[in-house]
Amino acid sequence: MVNNIRVLDLLAEIMDPEIPVINIVELGIVRGIEDGPPPRVIITPTYVGCPATDMISEMIREKLDGAGYDDVAIKNRLSPAWTTDWITKEAHEKLRLYGIDPPGTHTPSCPRCGSTNTKLISEFGSTPCKALHACKDCLEPFDRFKCH
């Protein structure tokens, strides 16, 4: 029997490699822990081609092994597909402070000055999860987390 809360706490120490201000639990990648045997951490990848996916699995393995949970397996689950709705509200605020407009149905807003007078530069940004926008008031470019 695994101590689920303890394992979840450990996983919450793992930051997303591309967006190091939010952890993988807040990001909605960790879907739960099954008792087993063997006990398993269930994860759902954000984007199929995202290079961070393999890296995150390795980080989880390392974290679990380091804490003596080397018997806990990691299981990838594809369905239901990951959605930005699984990102927590707290994480939205962290994204904004980090300079990324969080996902949602709201009008794109500049994370620096708050203006909604913005334009889309490209639907594809520096990582699969982001689109590139620019603020027409403070003139700064910014990333917006794509609704997915």
């Binding site: 199929v48 081609g49 290079p51 594809l78 369905s79 597909a81 990951w82 594809f124």
Partner: protein
């Protein structure tokens, strides 16, 4: 060579994603501007990600190779079963965007036909990929419209691309043995039935793109699904396979 109807069909899907992903990756560092460069490499990454999931899943059905990399990277040319369209060269940005639009708009129907598959993992891969395909369609379509409805030169280039690529579209919807066996096995619904709807949708977009019309469907070129490829795939493979054939099992 795959023997089961399931693996024959899934290999086709995997090869389509792999080869188009490889084609798009050739544009890395060569896009007309940085945002477009990133868009093309992002789409390439999505497609190679789909291919990876599919190749790994195929191996759970049939022992075709020791691992997904070997299956993806080391087969002889005639064992690749992608459609001919995805291997067509990156002639110019109009060709690249039209190829993407024609393929992604087809792929949407092809993957929707897998959502109620008897193979739950395949259905999950399709569900996941469809979210990304929606972006690919939107991006490529916006450029088909912009170039078709743009300057004389951009319209001429889009028109040339259509003249050159249209003859490869029939193959994608061919109701051949690979598809009908997969349908009989419950793997997919018969998405070839959607060919007419797809053509209506694409023709309406082309018409909006400066009044472009595709050439008549008199002779569609086929054979890719059966491993009969034109010289383009050979050029892709000589580049893509070089490292794995020279240094088997090489890792980054």
């Amino acid at each position: 060579m795959p023997k089961k109807p399931e693996t024959v069909y899934m290999l086709r899907l995997a090869d389509n994603a792999l080869i188009l992903g490889q084609r798009l990756s050739e544009m890395c560092g060569h896009g007309p501007e940085m945002e477009l460069d990133m868009a093309m490499t992002n789409m390439s990454l999505d497609l190679i990600g789909q291919a990876k999931l599919l190749f790994e899943h195929i191996l759970t059905w049939e022992d075709l190779a020791p691992n997904a990399d070997v299956l993806a990277m080391t087969r002889p040319l005639e064992q690749y079963s992608n459609c001919l369209l995805v291997a067509q060269p990156n002639v110019d940005f109009a060709h690249i965007m039209l190829r993407q639009y024609l393929f992604s708009s087809m792929q949407k129907f092809q993957y929707e036909a897998l959502l109620r598959s008897s193979d739950k993992t395949l259905a999950a891969i399709a569900e996941k990929s469809l979210k990304e395909i929606a972006y690919h369609i939107r991006f490529a379509k916006s450029w088909v419209l912009r170039l078709g409805d743009g300057t004389d030169e951009s319209r001429a280039r889009m028109s040339d691309a259509l003249e050159s690529l249209w003859r490869f579209t029939g193959e994608m919807f061919a109701n051949d043995a690979g598809l009908s066996d997969a349908v009989a096995a419950g793997l997919s619904t018969n998405f070839a039935l959607i060919y007419g709807d797809w053509k209506l949708e694409v023709k309406s977009v082309l018409s909006e793109a400066g009044g472009l019309t595709p050439p008549p469907d008199t002779r569609m070129i086929m054979g890719g699904h059966q491993g009969q490829h034109d010289e383009n795939l050979g050029h892709i493979l000589s580049d893509m396979q070089f490292m794995q054939l020279s240094y088997p099992g090489l890792n980054w």
